[in-house]
Every structure is written in C-alpha cells, then in structure tokens.
Symmetry: C2
C-alpha cells in the first residue's frame, strides 16, 4: 500500500527579522520571498501527489483568512485550520498535529513542516521523506540538513547508529555552536542542522507526549476537543489553550525519547532568517542586485531592493545595502546589518504605538 502522508503546516511565528516585509498582521510565510508564490503556498505545493492528503494548517487566530485564501488560491484548501489564540511553542503544535491526524487520517503519517522555509530541491526533499517512511511508523523522524558551512545560527543534531539506509538514531541535540565548534561539526560529517521538520505517526507522537510531556498533551487534547468548529476552522479556546505549557518539541520530547531518528538530507534548505539570506538566495543581475517591484538603480551594486506596493524607489551610488519598501514601513541598511532589523521593527512598533496615543 502506498504511504499516506498528512502535511501539517506550521504557520506560527511573527518574526521581526524581515520587517517591514514581515509584520504581525502578515508574517513572512504569507509573502512571496524567493518565488512568485508565497512561502506557505510553496510549502504546500511541494507536498502534493498520490501520497499526500489535503493539508492541515496550524496558525495564529488572526491569520485564518490569509491561510485559507492563499491555499485556496493554489487549489489546495486545508482540511483543518487550527487557530491558536497565542503561540505556545512547538510541543503544542506537535500535539495538535497528532490529534488532528488521529481524527482525520489515523493511518497516515504526519509530515510537520514550517511554512516559512525555502527548499530549493523539492524532489530531493520528497525522496528523503519517502526514505524515512518505514522508520516513521515507529519513531519520530526529524530531517537533518547537511551543513554547507559552519553556521553558528542553527542548532545541530549528531547522528548515531544507522537504523536502515539513510536513517540514523539521534546521538544528541546540540545548541547553536561557536564558530570553532561549528567548523568541527562540518568537518566531522556526522552533524546536521536541526531544521524542525518531522515525520511521525500520530499514535507514536501521542504516546511520547504522554510519556515526556503529559501536561502539554492533556491541555492540548482538551483544547482540541472543546474547540469551536466552523468549516475548516478550529477555534481553540483562550482559557483552555492558555493552560498548555510553552515548550519546544525538542526540549519536551525529542531530547528524551528513545523513539527518534534523523534522516540527513541535502535539499537546498534555507531558513531565510533575514534579508542577507534572502539576497543570497535571490536571482541577481550582473551587478549583484536583486530587484523586486518598481525601482530605478543608478550605479548600484550588490543591493537587495524590494518594493512591495510602495511608490517607485530610486537608488543612486549605493552598494551592499537593502532597501525594503512597503506600506508598513521603509527599511534602509547595509546587508551586513540584517541581524539588527529587529531593532528597527521594535522601534517602529513603539513609534506607531506612541503615535496612536498622541
């Protein structure tokens, strides 16, 4: 029998690292960053075919319309949209995914994927998923990204003994390393990036949550069962969901369970954690500029220029900068300062709050 997989799209997060493109009202998964589709659309579009059921999405309450509209626009409306009144970290998301899977397709495996990652080689990703299918019937599989460089911004997973071709036990989870440590990891060949992509059966996840994070599971089960349903929308109650401890699935389950596995893969994965990464991934002209939207470049080099619906942007004699123009704000900074964008986002928030008060 063919493997049946239920994609569960994790559309949480309202990061400030891509402000003003990404805002609380429309975080980055709802924007077209690397392609003409939005990131959540790309995420769903790479998980279609005979093995895949219609997706489930888990998102913030305010994003119901965005999720529904964007997935309907590509012809893949969600079976369920589970609406969190506020974020409660990824253990709660995994619990909701398992509960939803048990209700909708108990025989299927659940592929839980973030809505805001780039995967440049989707067919390699699908191969990795299929290669993990057998293991995932009894273990929670996480996909580890073969590191291309000694990145210090990600957590790592060290693989253990081989379970079957391409499937390994997990020796340990490792926090974000310093550069020397990251360099050792890359040289050693047995460490991969922790990308937060999981394949599991609902039963196994529920059993492991029961064992290692029973409070998370109990509160999530009550919240899921008492939720108000309206079409595909599953409205979780504020008070009940507020009882769920906020903890990551790695801390809650993965670092403790005996039933885990890692499948290393090389799939052109990227987190797009900031504008420098976006510029690195994007198509560029002969001068190293990536331009999206109406813009005039006069002597510009290695710039990221995005004009998302604002007035025309003109740049003269600038290099290595980003200019992001949206109706929410305009950001101008060196690409090398991409990590400081969140400061601007925070300041913009305070600024707008002050303005609203006065």
């Amino acid at each position: 029998m063919t493997l049946q997989i239920l994609p569960v799209i994790m559309s949480g997060g309202s990061g400030t690292r891509l402000w003003p493109l990404s805002t609380p009202a429309a975080p980055k998964q709802f924007h077209a960053l690397a392609t003409d589709n939005t990131m959540i659309q790309e995420t769903v579009l790479r998980l279609i075919g005979d093995s895949f059921l219609r997706p489930v999405a888990i998102c913030g309450r305010g994003h119901l319309d965005l999720v529904t509209a964007q997935l309907e626009a590509i012809g893949h409306p969600p079976q369920e949209v589970i609406l969190e009144p506020f974020g409660r970290n990824t253990a709660a998301v995994a619990a909701m995914a398992a509960l939803s899977g048990l209700a909708l397709a108990p025989e299927a495996l659940i592929l839980m994927v973030p809505a805001d990652h780039v995967i440049a080689q989707p067919s390699a990703f699908l191969e990795a998923v299929m290669a993990a299918g057998e293991t995932a019937k009894t273990r929670i599989v996480t996909f580890g990204i073969q590191p291309s460089h000694p990145e210090t911004g990600f957590g790592y997973i060290e693989r253990g003994a081989e379970l079957s071709p391409g499937n390994y036990e997990i020796a340990r989870f490792l926090e974000k390393p310093d550069l020397a440590t990251a360099t050792q990891y890359v040289a050693g060949g047995s460490h991969v990036w922790n990308a937060g992509i999981f394949l599991f059966s609902p039963q196994v996840m529920l059993e492991e949550l029961e064992l290692h994070a029973p409070e998370v599971l109990a509160a999530c089960r009550t919240a899921y069962e008492t939720a108000r349903r309206e079409g595909p929308a599953v409205h979780l109650d504020d008070v009940i969901f507020g009882q769920v401890p906020s903890i990551s699935i790695d801390y809650a389950v993965m670092e403790h369970t005996q039933r885990s596995a890692v499948v290393p893969c090389d799939i052109g994965w990227a987190d797009v954690g900031g504008f420098r990464e976006l510029w690195r991934l994007a198509d560029k002209d002969n001068h190293g500029n990536h331009v999206k939207g109406d813009a005039i470049l006069i002597e510009a080099e290695n710039c990221l220029i995005r004009n998302d619906g604002g007035p025309i942007v003109a740049i003269i004699d600038m290099a290595d900068i980003m200019v992001i123009s949206t109706p929410s704000g305009i950001l101008i900074a060196p690409l090398s300062r991409a990590q400081d964008v969140k400061k601007a986002a925070e300041a913009a928030k305070s600024f707008l709050n002050l303005g609203a008060k006065s």
Copy 2:
C-alpha cells in the same frame, strides 16, 4: 512719502533636482523645505509691512490653486495670479510684472523675487531693498549676493562705479566660472552672485524692454491685455503667449541696458538647488542628521531624512546619505551625489510613462 513696493512672486520652474519632493505637479516652492512654511509662503511673508502692497504671483497654469491656497492660508491672497500656459523664461516674466504693476499700482516699484529662494536674514534683505529704492526709480536694480565661497554653480556680477552708498553700476555679467576664476572673484571683493532678484519701476522696465526686447514686450502686452480674467486669475492665451520669445531678462535687457544697477547684500541667501544644500541649511541633531517626518535612526550620521507623508522610514548604520520618501517616490543616495538626482527624476518619469502605457 513712503516707498510703495509691489512684490511680484516668480513661481515658475518645475526643477527635477529635488525629486521626489519636487514634482511637476508641486515644485519646490510649494513645499516646506527650510521652515514650517512653504517657500512661496516664506517669500511673501518677508515682504509685508507698510511699504508693501498685496503681492502678484506669476506661475504655471496648473499651479493656480496651490498659489491661491498657500497665500490665502497666510492671510496674504494675491492681487493677481498671472497664469502662463508654459514657461517662456524670465524676460516674459519681467514684462508681465511691469504690465501688472502699471495696471495695479503705477507709482509703486516692483520687487520681482523667485518663490523658491531661502533668505535667512530677511531684515537685511529689507534694508537692501530700501537702500535701493531711490536708484530703482530710474534704473533696474539687481541684488547681488556677497559670495561666501567660490561657488561654480552660479553666475556672477562685477560691480562698477558707485552710484550712491551701496548702489553700484554693473560692470559686467559673468557666466558660471571655473573654480580658479571663482576663487579670484571671491578674493577680489567686487563680484557678487547673480540671484535674479530685481527692483524696478514698471515704466523703466517697459522702456528698456521696448528698446532691447521689443518682440517680448509686444507679445506679452497682447497676451496680458487679451487674457481671460476670473477673480485674481489672469489666464494668458496659449497661442498669443506662444508668440513670446523665450529669453532670460539678463540676456534680453540687463546685459545691454545703460539703466542698471547692483546692490550687493549679505542676507543669508540660498538657492536650495539640491538636497545637499538643503541638508547644509537645515537644523541638525548631535549626529549631524536632519530628520523631518516619521523616522527611526539607528546609528545614522550626517544624513538628510525627509518623510513627507510616507510610511515610517528606518535607517540602520548609514552615513552621509539622503532618504526622501514621498507618495511620488523614494530616493536614496549619498548627499555627495545630490547633483544626480535629476537623473533619477528623469528615469522615474520614463518609468511611470512606460507603466501607464503597458
């Protein structure tokens, strides 16, 4: 008897050097650049008092509402607004000024001033005007700006013999010099900048136009006399005004007449020909930044940030640049490239035209 002066405000010009702030629909004289008033408002506000009649404005046809509204807003509505269907240079403007003055106040002197100049010491300017009053009854007086530095972007006037205290004959007009020549001019002490500000009696101007530019005068007279009038508006006819030769008052009259004079003055004058000049003139914070409108500065130095009604602008780690954000466009460039702003303005024009066609 007190000197009576009719201010004639020259509000032509639709320069591209301050794009996107300045646009054909609203050139720089209609914007608040150096103060909270617009430049045309400042121009009128420095010419009020017992000696001054209500002003006349000469502007492009499309700017009637702007001129009227901005002068009414400061309580000095114009007596006449002479509407040119297109620009025909400054000889035509001087002729219209003289014809209007003859009609409205034949005994008054006409003070013809550009609407888009900064004069930081208005009382010094008024003193210079008063000091020129006697001479202006028989000569066309131009006010020469004492040069503060060897500027190569302006024409110069060399003064001749003294006519009366502070009033001089004009030895010659000089085109924009190279730096060596400009340095000599400044060192010599007998050269001043040609600012295009004139004081004259309508009769003298009309006689000198008749003598040196009879075609300009004849066509302007016909246009002024046949104009359609509606309240203060004087609508010049396209075809008739189209007969007026396009020539500057300097070329047409000033370089030929025997009846000219120059009054040197030191009045904090500036042309605001570009954003670098605007930054130089503007109030700045401790880091050398001039900020107008909603903006967030994180590690910014010596920047000009103007947000005229756009979304909030955030700058991280930038120095010596200008950011001009308006509903018409967003400009980002080093202040040192202010002279290239017109390239961006031209490109924006082509871009928008292309967009409109497609």
